[in-house]
């Protein structure tokens, strides 16, 4: 079964991982801008990072027949630095017309602070002004419930937001329902210890259905498996879910959501996969 990984940080992965993804029938990835492991000291570092996401990674992925898309922003962790964030936001729009940019992301909250909320709101303004899709990062562990609710507050308080153009990611048992009920798309991240295991993601798919639901590996420099979406497919098959049900989550839904961006070109798919 061909699939799309809608959230993976290939910058942190080796070329061998592109090969592994291709061998596992991954046909497209989308890579949100994120925290590289240390706080950057100047806005020029972000400029180079955005070039990397829009120039180098698409070329590297293409060698393995994988489409590469990206999302741009200042991540929630570095958003604590207001002045740096505003410097980056001042030049970010010049990257939005690069061929592989789907929107603004992954924006959100980290420790649920005032500065993070301010920078989130400023990203939201940018997305609205430039008619961009939005990819949301929800916080980790103990901060997730509070932060997700705060993010939903900020989105739902804005009548200009078209909820079908927003993907709320890293959802788990305690945050999936409010995001879906509010009309947003939802992503579940498959991690070995934090976030969702493939089994729990399959449980949530069974409980909430396939509408507006995706799964991703969020593969990065931490403990993560870049081919984790395959683990989800395997788990769903073990539970005897139909191929069309599984495909809806791992391929059709990402295509439907991403197709709202003019940058996205859906892989030409047949019953068996892309031609």
């Amino acid at each position: 079964m061909y699939y799309i990984d809608p959230h993976i940080h290939m910058l942190s992965r080796t070329t061998d991982d592109y090969e592994a993804l291709a061998r596992m029938d991954c046909v497209a990835v989308s890579e949100p801008a994120f925290w590289p492991g240390l706080d950057r000291q100047n806005s020029e570092s972000f400029y180079d990072y955005f070039r990397h996401l829009t120039e180098f990674e698409p070329a590297r992925a293409a060698k393995y027949g994988i489409q590469h898309y990206s999302w741009l922003c200042v991540n929630a962790k570095e958003a604590e630095n207001l002045s740096l964030s505003r410097e980056v936001l001042s030049f970010l729009p010049e990257f939005l017309n690069r061929g592989n940019v789907l929107g603004i992301g992954e924006i959100g909250l980290n420790k649920n602070t005032r500065n993070e909320a301010i920078v989130f709101m400023e990203h939201k303004e940018l997305a609205i002004r430039h008619d961009q899709l939005i990819l949301i990062h929800t916080p980790h562990l103990a901060d997730k419930l509070r932060g997700t609710r705060m993010i939903l507050d900020m989105l739902c308080d804005d009548q200009r937001i078209r909820r079908e153009r927003v993907l709320v990611d890293h959802a788990e048992e305690h945050t999936i329902r409010p995001a879906l009920d509010a009309g947003f798309w939802v992503g579940m991240t498959l991690y070995p210890t934090t976030k969702c295991t493939p089994q729990r993601a399959a449980d949530l798919a069974e409980r909430y259905g396939t509408d507006r639901l995706m799964v991703n590996s969020a593969g990065d420099w931490g403990p993560s498996r870049p081919v984790a979406v395959r683990d989800f497919i395997f788990e769903m098959r073990r539970r005897r879910h139909s191929e069309s049900t599984i495909r809806r989550i791992v391929y059709d839904n990402p295509v439907q959501f991403f197709s709202q961006s003019p940058a996205f070109q859906a892989p030409i798919a047949t019953e068996d996969g892309p031609a």
Binding site: N112, R114, A117, I118, M121, L141, A142, D143, K144, L145, R146, R149, M150, D153, M154, D157, D158, Q159, R160, E172, E173, H174, L180, R200, D203, A205, E206, R207, Y208, G209, T210, D211, R238, R239, R240, H241, T245
Partner: protein, 95 residues
């Protein structure tokens, strides 16, 4: 949001999961034993209390046990966070 019908029967799920559930319970039991054997005490540590509270949730027959365990390990939502941060999040629809 129509739920999916789970194709597996309860007996099939138990057949498949029994050894995994057993192994996971053993891991938790062994970790608690390890804590007890170690020098010092974490009896006053909030995380230790959270673990006990989460284990208590497993004893219930509530269908939302996993969600309740998640909430046990979560900071609560603060309804008045906007006022606390002095941020106005309301934006009107564009004309």
């Amino acid at each position: 949001m129509p739920a999916l019908t789970g194709p597996l029967t309860a007996e099939e799920v138990l057949d498949r999961e029994f050894l995994e559930i057993r192994a996971k319970i053993l891991e938790v039991a062994a970790a608690l034993d390890r804590l007890d054997r170690a020098s010092g005490s974490v009896a006053a540590d909030e995380r230790r209390r959270q673990i006990d509270a989460a284990i208590a949730i497993l004893h219930t027959s509530d269908p939302d046990r996993s969600e309740r365990v998640q909430r046990q390990f979560s900071l609560p939502y603060l309804e008045h966070w906007r006022e606390q941060f002095q941020i106005d999040t309301r934006r009107e629809r564009q004309a």
